[in-house]
């Protein structure tokens, strides 16, 4: 069985290696340390996820520093955050090794150790938010995750000065969001007298608490909801995302797109279902309709705007806005199938977007940029990269056989179960719009005429595939995982997502 200290190690390992990297290592060694640490974290997280499967009640609790909860800080892993932890750890373990060339091209050599140090601290933040059972701890780690993210985005400045503006915009919006969250958590502390999330949830259920401070609770709810929406970039709080993803170095976009917003979605689920509870969030407050409307607009507008982009990174960024809409939609449906759909979409989008940004990184590394106009005939010149792009795009569309189909099936059936057929139509029309922007990428890759002249500057790189093991392989691994999930090998993932959803939305008697 799992060692009792594993939950702490998940956070402590990248924290220590991150500091060590920044202080003592240089150049490629720094990257090697980051890679090793990400693999170690993955091993720890998988171990932890197995432990959760077998733990009584499906919960592993760890008292940090030996102070028993609710007084001390508790790390609390149930099926929900085990699922998200696995996503974050897998993405870290695959993206980090694939990021070296892209980062070396974007960051000056004398800053590499700082970059990789910050990269690992970013992981600390994301893993920590997910694993902790303490509301204030969520805020602290969210700030660690955010501050490091601003830095990582700003690292794009050496290639693209606009990265600085994007990072600043992200910083302003992120700080506003974090402040909302902090004040909201403060109100909750005032009402419940505790910061432990499980404890908070229990106190909020007590009728006298609800009677005495209903207004404070509602205020806390609104503040936290606003803060979380900013963090997960849900429409209309998405404005920081396209710039940040488009101007950051491609590997950073790959990491952020596949983990940062996902952790935001996790925090939303945790607060809505785990702390405030489904009854307060969805039956006494109109969260469901609000979320559904925001999600619908995000899906439709995000996809439409993605169709209009010519820069691939910007296209993928707008597509991310839309995909976050799908997750918010599943959360807003407040049913078992809806939540399972949201979780599965979280997983599949992390894999697919990570793979796509890595492939775009491979294109940028070769071509210097990645515009849809430059893709003509690349299917023959860079078949692996083009294959990853194609599979990823099909995954975004949700073609049967990809994991995207599975999550959309859950979302559509969940909406229809509640009679919300317009919501189902939005999901499906969103897929159709995704097909439109996917075609913008896939068609030039493969359907270009044979006599098309090679792209500008091809002479410099010989019109060949990017280095396989360092740039192409990680994207292939993610594509293979996504295909596996779509082709019926994802039973365990679907089972875990359904179990996590059932924990949060217990089946009620009768349909």
């Amino acid at each position: 069985m799992s060692h009792p200290d594993v939950p702490a190690l998940v956070v402590v390992v990248p924290l220590l290696t991150g500091l060590l990297t920044a202080l003592a290592l240089r150049g490629r060694w720094a990257w090697a340390a980051a890679t090793l640490s990400s693999w170690l974290v993955l091993a720890l997280v998988l171990d932890l996820a197995l432990a959760v499967q077998h733990a009584p009640g499906g919960v592993v609790s760890y008292a940090l520093g030996g102070w028993a909860p609710p007084v001390g800080i508790e790390y609390r892993v149930d099926r929900l955050n085990a699922f998200v932890l696995v996503v974050v750890a897998v993405m870290g373990a695959v993206v980090t090794p694939g990021a070296r060339l892209g980062v070396e091209a974007a960051v000056p050599a004398d800053r590499l150790h700082l970059f990789w140090g910050v990269w690992q601290l970013c992981q600390v933040g994301l893993l920590g938010i997910t694993i902790t059972g303490d509301a204030f701890n969520v805020y602290v780690l969210l700030e660690i995750g955010s501050l490091t993210t601003y830095t990582l985005v700003a690292m794009g400045k050496h290639r693209d000065r606009r990265a600085l503006t994007a990072a600043f915009q992200y910083l302003v919006m992120g700080t506003v969001g974090a402040s909302f969250l902090l004040v909201g958590i403060g109100y909750l502390l005032q009402v419940t007298g505790t910061l432990n999330m499980a404890d908070m949830a229990a106190r909020l259920l007590e009728p006298e608490t609800a009677r005495a401070s209903g207004r404070t609770i509602r205020a806390a709810f609104s503040l936290i909801a606003a803060g979380v929406c900013l963090k997960m970039a849900l429409f209309p709080a998405h404005t920081w995302l396209p710039g940040a993803y488009a101007h950051a170095p491609a590997p950073v976009s790959a990491l952020l797109a596949s983990t940062a917003t996902k952790v935001g979605v996790y925090v939303a689920i945790r607060f809505l279902y785990g702390i405030f509870g489904r009854e307060l969030s969805f039956e006494r407050l109109p969260t469901g309709p609000l979320l559904l409307v925001c999600a619908a607009v995000a899906i439709l507008a995000g996809s439409l705007l993605a169709c209009r982009q010519r820069d691939l990174k910007r296209l993928l960024a707008w597509s991310s806005v839309a995909q976050i809409g799908y997750m918010a939609l599943g959360v807003g449906l407040a049913s078992k199938a809806g939540l399972a759909g949201a979780l599965l979409h979280l997983l599949q989008h992390a894999l697919v977007k990570g793979a796509l940004f890595l492939a775009v990184g491979a294109l940028v590394w070769r071509l210097g940029a990645a515009r849809t106009d430059d893709l003509g005939g690349l299917g023959r010149r860079m078949p692996w990269t083009a294959g990853v792009l194609t599979l990823g795009m099909l995954g975004l569309v949700g073609v049967p056989g990809t994991a995207g189909f599975v999550s959309k099936w859950y979302l559509v059936t969940a909406a229809l179960e509640q009679g919300l057929w317009p919501v189902a139509v939005v999901v499906l029309v969103g897929s159709l719009l995704a097909a439109a922007y996917a075609l913008k990428v896939i068609e030039p890759l493969w359907a270009a005429p044979e006599d098309l002249p090679p792209p500008a500057g091809a002479a410099a790189w010989g019109g060949r595939e990017s280095p396989f093991s360092s740039l192409v392989l990680p994207g292939l691994v993610l594509s293979a995982l996504s295909l596996g999930l779509g082709l019926g090998l994802g039973g365990p993932a679907q089972g875990l997502a359904l179990a996590a959803a059932e924990d949060l939305v217990p089946a009620r008697g009768g349909p």
Binding site: P400, W409, L416, A424, V425, L428, V429, L432, A435, A447
Partner: protein, 492 residues
């Protein structure tokens, strides 16, 4: 290995073999296609068909894409109608394609033959699917596998046609059809007891009538491959593809997949009795009748041969939809027969169009004047195919139209018989005028216009003679076919 799994895996294996052999070993590559087609025909017609007729149904369960919804396959009589047609016609198509692609000096031939085989694999998946989700998976696979074939020529015209093709087929299937399937799943029963498996007589008996009518409309409109107006534009657009694609896919595999799915949904999701009274099928009968007439009208105005044939296909497909929408066993029988008959007739016509293109480079009807004396085999086969589409004996098409006509008379809408007769008349006008022009028109020989026209390569001519003869054979061999399908019509 079960023959069902073999039928699904064989075309995939052919695709892999084609890619591995590649352009350098092109003879071996074409041999792989031909051998695969032969083997598939043997598996489907020689093994599965006798087994099913003897009452031994084969089933197969694949991996579960969605938790609790495994891919499920079953070989039954209706499935074998479509699978049998697709498998039987792959062989002449592979033969024809080998002659055509070389005679026409097409590029990317390896990709072409690989995608061709994958399309057949998808068709097999659709034919043998035993639930709606499986059907949808292979339906989408067929769209994606045929897209590279449609855009095969490259260039802006092909790209535009490809976008229209994908756009219409994906829009209907991803929005309407998937919504219909999800709706059918939710309405199939209470949570925990839901199913998407096909059942003779349907599984939506418990659903409220309004939901059932809405689902029926979503299904019929969502199956865009049936090319019911106004969702038919993808079919004429797909004619930019090389002739073998138009022949096998856009006269047989893809469009028949559409009408087969409509028929299957009518029989096994709703049940014919429900279709007849419980889903408001009147609008669909009207739409199908309109498609029949308008399709024929448009076909009369087209001078491009393949385009004329495409609109003729639009019109003929609506016959099958009409048969399914009547909601009577007789209508379903006529619809199933029409899938077979039209397949043999139309593939012959497309082979002829391709052979004329290869031999002379002519693509317009008006250019065919007097060609009959130069290409007697080709235009002779064309005449047979056209007669079959019109529905005259001694060709197979006569039977399907006979049963469909009977079904309309027995239904509440006997006026539909008038539509069928009118359409046959129009078919005569725009199809039979072509061989008439070719055989009896004065040849237009410009002096010094190059060597005299000769028949297309042997592979092409052999293929079209084979399918043309098939149309005749189907007229005389109709009894076992009807006998085989009759139990299906007697089923509850």
């Amino acid at each position: 290995m079960s023959p069902l799994l073999l039928a699904l895996a064989l075309p995939v294996a052919v695709a892999v073999a084609v890619v591995l052999l590649g352009e350098r070993r092109r003879d071996a590559r074409e041999a792989a296609s031909l051998l695969g087609a032969l083997a598939l025909a043997w598996v489907v017609l020689g093994t599965l068909l006798p087994d099913v007729l003897a009452g031994r149904e084969h089933v197969l369960e694949g991996p579960a894409l969605i938790d609790g919804l495994p891919l499920r396959f079953r070989a039954d009589r209706l499935a074998l109608v479509y699978a049998g047609v697709a498998a039987a016609l792959w062989l002449p198509s592979a033969l024809f394609a080998a002659g055509y692609m070389r005679g026409h000096h097409e590029g990317h031939q390896t990709r072409f033959f690989a995608c061709f085989a994958l399309s057949i694999a998808s068709a097999m998946g659709i034919a043998f699917s035993d639930d709606l989700l499986t059907m949808f998976v292979f339906y989408e696979a067929l769209t994606l596998a045929t897209w590279p074939l449609v855009t095969h020529r490259g260039g802006p015209a092909a790209a535009r046609a490809g976008r229209l093709y994908l756009g219409l087929l994906l829009a209907t299937s991803m929005v309407l059809l998937l919504l219909a399937i999800a709706g059918a799943w939710v309405h199939s029963g209470p949570a925990g007891a839901r199913s998407l498996a096909f059942v003779q007589g349907g599984f939506l008996g418990e659903a409220p009538p309004a939901a059932r009518a809405a689902l029926f409309a979503l299904f019929v409109l969502g199956i865009g491959k049936a090319a019911l107006m106004p969702f038919h534009f993808w079919l004429p657009a797909a004619m930019v593809a090389p002739a073998p694609v138009s022949a096998l896919l856009h006269a047989v595999a893809v469009v028949k997949a559409g009408v087969f799915c409509v028929l299957k949904v009518a029989v096994c999701v709703f049940g014919l009795d429900v279709v007849a009274v419980g889903v408001g099928n009147g609008w669909l009968l009207g739409l199908a009748a309109a498609t029949i007439v308008v399709g024929s009208l448009v076909a009369m105005t087209r001078d491009n041969l393949k385009e004329r044939l495409a609109y003729s296909t639009v019109s003929q497909l609506a016959y099958v939809v009409l048969g399914a929408a009547l909601g009577s066993p007789l209508g379903a029988l006529g619809a199933a027969l029409h899938i077979v008959m039209h397949a043999f007739g139309k593939i012959t016509l497309f082979f002829c169009a391709g052979a004329i293109d290869v031999a002379t480079g002519r693509t317009r009807v008006s250019e065919l004047r007097g060609l009959g004396r130069r290409m007697p085999w080709t235009l002779g086969a064309f005449t047979l195919g056209a007669l079959s589409i019109v529905g005259l004996p001694p060709l197979g098409g006569a039977w399907s139209k006979w049963y469909l006509g009977q079904a309309t008379l027995a239904s509440d809408h006997p006026w539909l018989l008038g539509v069928l007769l009118l359409s046959s008349l129009m078919n005569t006008g725009y199809l039979l005028s072509i061989p008439a022009l070719a055989f009896f028109g004065a040849p237009r020989e410009e002096p010094g216009a190059g060597p005299p026209v000769r028949e297309a390569p042997l592979a092409c001519v052999a293929a079209l003679v084979l399918t043309g003869a098939g149309s005749v054979a189907l007229f005389f061999g109709i009894d076992p076919l009807v006998a085989a399908l009759r139990p299906a019509r007697e089923a509850p």
